[in-house]
């Protein structure tokens, strides 16, 4: 079934110090898609995600997420419909999780009652209760990253961009937290360790030489006896060392 695109990137081009990292890139992810983005070189997927989030600039190209552009700063626009969690939490260490959630709610334009309701729900879902009112520095990087995810989910965003998130969180807990609820929520996850994302995504995309050279359902990997790893994905794309054995398996 065809679904409308929640993530639409067209003609994205970006050069860094003369090297063209993204070259007229096209990417479309339907509503409800869970996409794992991997790349060679490694940082390109992260760069694309930061361009989608409006943190990095493209030399050319257009981005639309959940039907809105970055310029839409209305209450019902970008701030509430798009969530982003990066590799670093980006939160002041002196803040408490409660203060972070309160600030995220204020920046999203919710009234006090709505902020409290959403904060309470986030505290419960992300198990922040025990450290809710303690400075984040006491809980270390893991607490900071869990709080960052909770703050990103506070607005119940339609599109969630995850840039190699929650690496300081214990693996089992990380998988639980990244099992993002919502059938109509679209998640794009850039990861340097695809094998750790098993069960969290239903699509994979491989970026090489600045373009999307593969965008396929995860089940195609299973069908060809390949694992969710960079080698497996490259083999599915017919690139790299595993390509020959994948062809033989076919």
């Amino acid at each position: 079934m065809l679904r409308p695109a929640a993530v639409l990137a067209s003609g994205i081009t970006r050069s860094v110090r003369g090297a063209r990292l993204l070259d007229d890139l096209e990417l479309s992810v339907g509503v409800g898609g869970r996409l794992l983005l991997v790349s060679r070189p490694e940082g390109t997927a992260s760069l694309l995600l930061r361009i989608l989030a409006g943190l990095a600039h493209a030399d050319r190209g257009n981005v639309r997420l959940a039907g809105v552009s970055r310029a839409d700063d209305s209450a019902a626009g970008w701030a509430r419909r798009i969530g982003y969690v990066g590799a670093s939490a980006g939160i002041y260490a002196w803040m408490t999780p409660a203060e972070v959630l309160e600030l995220a709610g204020r920046l999203a334009g919710y009234d006090r009652a709505e902020r409290h309701r959403r904060s309470d729900a986030a505290v419960e879902r992300y198990r922040l209760g025990a450290s809710r009112d303690a400075p984040i520095r006491r809980g270390g990087a893991a607490l900071a990253q869990r709080t960052a995810l909770a703050a990103a989910m506070l607005t119940d965003p339609e599109v969630l961009l995850l840039d190699d998130p929650l690496r300081s969180v214990e693996a089992e807990e990380r998988s639980r937290l990244l099992a993002i609820p919502g059938k109509r929520r679209t998640v794009v996850l850039a990861s340097a360790f695809p094998a750790t994302e098993v069960g969290l995504v239903n699509q994979i995309a491989l970026l090489r030489e600045g373009k999307v050279v593969l965008h396929a359902p995860v089940r195609e990997l299973d069908a060809r006896g390949l694992t969710l790893s960079l080698r497996g994905i490259e083999a599915l794309a017919g690139i790299g060392e595993g390509a020959g054995s994948a062809a033989a398996a076919r």
Partner: protein, 239 residues
């Protein structure tokens, strides 16, 4: 407006919790108090003029350190993703810069006013007749405007893709260079840094209040230009 207030509160808290707010406030004040310790032979013939000159010299250092603190802090904020955290919530990058400018500028101006009051009090302590304070007040306002120019320049530096230490060093060199040149070279035209020159040579000006007003005006125009430059630079940067 509510967003800007939240950002201002956040910047103030960040500065407060790291004692940098105290540093920005006390440095000019200490400069004002220190002029009392200058020997009469060095302070000049007229007590207030001498105090104002030494206060202007101390401001070069304290404003320079303030500019370095701001530039280094904002460069560090970019590095650890704090600005990115706000920008992904549709907060304009310029709002983050404006919040920092309001907090640091406010504290800096207040500190300069306190320092000038301290310099005045220490200078007039032993005088039988208290001179007119208006020229010193006017020159202090112009010097505060010159300090805001240094702060705006520090925001431009902070928007460049530099690590915190080089950003702080560059802001320090730029602001001290700009302010010290006004103290060392007698300035006649109403330049943005003229307030410091006026403060350093209070008796040299025939119309100190008019000169101070002109310098304040050109300084505020320079602040506006530099803030626009800082916004444009950060807007084009990767976070």
């Amino acid at each position: 407006m509510s967003r800007l207030l939240a950002l201002v509160g956040l910047a103030a808290h960040e500065l407060w919790i790291s004692y940098r707010l105290l540093l920005l406030l006390t440095l000019p004040l200490l400069g004002g108090l220190a002029v009392g310790a200058i020997p009469a032979g060095l302070a000049g013939l007229r007590a207030v003029d001498g105090a104002a000159r030494w206060y202007a010299i101390s401001l070069c250092a304290s404003v320079g350190i303030g500019a370095a603190v701001v530039s280094g802090t904002l460069a560090a904020e970019r590095r650890r993703g704090t600005i990115a955290w706000m920008v992904v919530r549709a907060v304009p990058r310029s709002a983050v810069q404006l919040a920092w400018f309001i907090v640091v500028g406010g504290v800096m101006v207040f500190g300069i006013a306190l320092g000038a009051a301290a310099a005045w009090l220490t200078a007039t302590e032993r005088l039988a007749e208290i001179p007119d304070a208006a020229p010193l007040v006017a020159a202090t306002i112009a010097a505060a405007a010159a300090a805001l120019v240094a702060l705006a320049a520090a925001l431009v530096v902070a928007a460049l893709p530099l690590a915190p230490a080089p950003a702080a060093l560059l802001a320090l060199l730029l602001s001290v260079g700009m302010l010290a040149s006004a103290v060392l070279v007698p300035l006649t035209a109403p330049l943005p840094n003229g307030g410091l020159g006026l403060l350093a040579d209070l008796s040299g000006s025939a119309r100190p209040i008019a000169d101070a007003l002109q310098s304040t005006g050109t300084a505020l125009v320079a602040v506006a230009v530099l803030l626009v430059l800082a916004v444009v630079t950060l807007d084009r940067a990767d976070l």
